[in-house]
């Protein structure tokens, strides 16, 4: 079977898998950002309990492997009475894990905003919410974006692991096609190329563009 025959026969399966991978990625991006912001802010809190919760969460998820977390949430949580559907379990685990890394980025970025900015906002008697939202966060965001871009690539690659709890993503389809055809080079090679194209020619340029927009808005472009 030539590669073109292979593609015309199994191409649709790869496309379906790619769609599932992208859905996992997009949902997880939003949830990761939300978790990272919440945990990042909580870690900066003066309240020891709030801070403790955040530190525990971050260390727990940064200290273990994503795969361990995925198996634990999918196979052990049901024993404790919480059953998640595999698609949801995938998104939640991905976000919890990458969110912990993101939280450290958020914390670092907020702390990197010069102290004078806080003082100036304070002396203009801006409300705490306004101070954070209009003064601190935009500057923190600009500092964080390059590192955040790397994290998004990591998240995208990490979606491949959800295939192990049998979410029918690109990785899963590649394995299926491999076990049907025994054409490993074609099956896994095609998947590699699709992941590469999405990460290198879609996600990375979008992040660069966002960086450019932010920098321009901040007047640093």
């Amino acid at each position: 079977m030539s590669y073109w025959q292979f593609l015309s026969e199994y191409g649709p399966r790869f496309l379906e898998g790619t769609l599932v991978t992208l859905l996992q990625f997009i949902f997880a991006v939003f949830l990761t950002i939300a978790l990272a912001l919440v945990a990042g802010f909580m870690k900066l809190s003066n309240n020891l309990f709030v801070k403790g919760v955040s530190v525990t969460y971050i260390e727990l998820f940064r200290g273990t492997s994503l795969l361990v977390q995925l198996y634990w949430i999918f196979f052990v949580l049901p024993l404790l009475g919480i059953t998640l559907e595999k698609f949801t379990a995938g998104i939640i685990t991905l976000s919890l894990c990458l969110g912990a890394y993101g939280a450290e980025l958020v914390r670092g970025a907020i702390q990197s905003v010069p102290k004078e900015q806080w003082e100036a906002a304070y002396s203009l008697s801006l409300s705490p919410i306004k101070r954070m939202w209009r003064i601190i966060l935009p500057q923190a965001l600009a500092n964080i974006l390059p590192a955040w871009g790397n994290l998004m690539i990591e998240l995208f690659k990490a979606t491949a692991l959800v295939s192990l709890i049998s979410v029918a993503d690109l990785m899963f389809e590649a394995r299926q096609v491999n076990s049907i055809t025994y054409m490993s080079a074609q099956a896994f090679g095609t998947a590699l190329i699709i992941y590469y194209i999405i990460a290198r020619f879609i996600i990375t340029p979008v992040i660069r563009w966002l960086e450019f927009i932010t920098m321009r808005k901040m007047g640093r472009g």
């Binding site: 260390e59 200290g63 361990v68 690539i153 692991l161 192990l164 491999n178 490993s184």
Partner: protein, 222 residues
Amino acid sequence: MFDWKWDFFWEVLPRLLSATVNTLIAAGVGYVIALVLGLILTLAQRTTFNILNMIVREFVEFIRSTPLILQIFFIFYVGPQFGIKMSPWTAGMVAIGLHYAAYLSEVYRGALDSVPKGQWEACSALSMKTHDTYFRIIIPQALPSALAGMGNYLVGIFKDTPMLSVIGVAELMHTANAIGSENYRFLEPLTMVGVIFLLISIPAAGFIRVFEGWLHKKLGMK
């Protein structure tokens, strides 16, 4: 609801501990491969052949933008198609070593770029050989700034070893799954794997920080 069985815990603990040794070996061997291969990948981007530099550059990007788990499958299953038969261990070490080599080559690149240009110029003014320039002048100066990244990826490679379980390397995750399906009990083995990871990676990360601090002080850098 929560029926944790301590006698089962004690029963499977020895098996998991011996698997932990395998995990550590896998991480260690993978890391050594990555350290060496990473250096080769960095140096191959700095030759006088522009085409070679570009190809290696894009190869590194390719490795960095595709999932490790897929690379593991690719190396394990595609090798035999071309007559290269590898045991799960060999294939796993090659895959994880190559993946992290790409990351480490970026660390080295950043570190090499951080060496002031004057140092390079001084070397060429003294007409030192390329080999001497790198090994006697540049690398010793670049090393300290590379160490932070190198330490992080050591912990990173350790946390990625569970992926080797998919091709049957008998590390922690694989053993825990085996225990689980033999006894129809996943609660204890999977939880224990998580705890073992925490118990190793958090102190390791702390130790690396301390070591970095010590080294910076030793080298007289702040």
